[in-house]
Symmetry: C2
Subunit: 238 residues, 2 copies
Amino acid sequence: MERVSGQHISGQFNEELESIRNRVMVMGGLVEKQLEDATTALIKQDIAIAQHVVMSDHKINALEVSLDEECTQVIAKRQPTASDLRLIMVVIKTITDLERIGDEAERIGRMCLHINQTGAQKSQLASLKHIGRYVQDMLHEVLDALARMDADAAVRIAKMDEGVDREYESVMRQLMTYMMEDVRSIPGILDIMWSARALERIGDRCCNICEYIIYYVKGKDVRHTSIEAMESLVQQKR
Amino acid sequence: MERVSGQHISGQFNEELESIRNRVMVMGGLVEKQLEDATTALIKQDIAIAQHVVMSDHKINALEVSLDEECTQVIAKRQPTASDLRLIMVVIKTITDLERIGDEAERIGRMCLHINQTGAQKSQLASLKHIGRYVQDMLHEVLDALARMDADAAVRIAKMDEGVDREYESVMRQLMTYMMEDVRSIPGILDIMWSARALERIGDRCCNICEYIIYYVKGKDVRHTSIEAMESLVQQKR
């Protein structure tokens, strides 16, 4: 994560912020891996990978707790203001969303194990391939934008969420048709639906992180505003 | 929200913290009302109330944004430490969960409007009565515990989530049976399932707030620990 200003009287303060930023990116990397593994496990019905996903979530949780603690200590000791304070705020909010994306990945992992019992055809699971790929790309790009604190990229990525929503609706319609065609498929299809919902929610959380990036760069909270408002803010006064 | 220490050199700082605490409770009250209205609208299929819920969510969003701004300003201006800083951290985290509970309530409101088209029998909707009541009680109690910063109550409320999960599983099984009995009911039942899931998630968010209360009172982050660990921490050294 790049900073607007890197000048501090205290070199140690600089190091602390640097360490926090690095650890957020490490956390992001872990979350990205979990999502990738969870999606692969689900689509290929790979039980070993799914179990690994479920067993690995605790690492993300531990990073969230320790980063929160670091941020609180930096506020108490260093009394950050302006862009340094915004950075800390962005970290506090971002790690909550990253942790929840990790939870959704874990949920997909569990769903994969459950599907093993309820039964679902690989052809039905394949309907998640596209949305899975799309959401993974979105997360990858948002982490990249976060590393560079790139507000333009943040707007572009936030726009991708419409695509996720469209794909989600289309997957749900298709899955509902399968259900109606064969009643016995209902339990398995429901698991696939929960997984689709988890992917859709991850898209929403990526959008949240986009909003934090814009807040850091522009100093303005754009949550609950339109994508057009975000875009025109980012384009203002270069 | 009660504070561990109410003594500050600056009377104005005291007032600022007081104002933040009051506004969090106002936000909590709004969220509680939204959840109550959404659940009533859904079970009674009351379109007017559902529309009102969907139209009112923006008030909660606005409170979240302005409270976040106030918290950031207090950190920058007052440089809080110890329990004052913990209070601010708790507020920042709590309002995120309150806002998301508001989102879930809005989602239930939208689902109610959608069910009006997909069609669902009142007898099927009635299966949400119990879990709806339970989650409403949980939210009410967690807001009360937050107002009093009561760690014992927080542990007790966090334990209630098991009941929500059990009730959720039972509702889902029942709804799945309805689906399998009558294929035409599937679209309507899916909407009821999404609403049940929203209620279950609200239970999770109430648990999050319980954890923040314990963090404030005990100064220790209990997220991702067991309920037993939370309980033994709260019982330590009275």
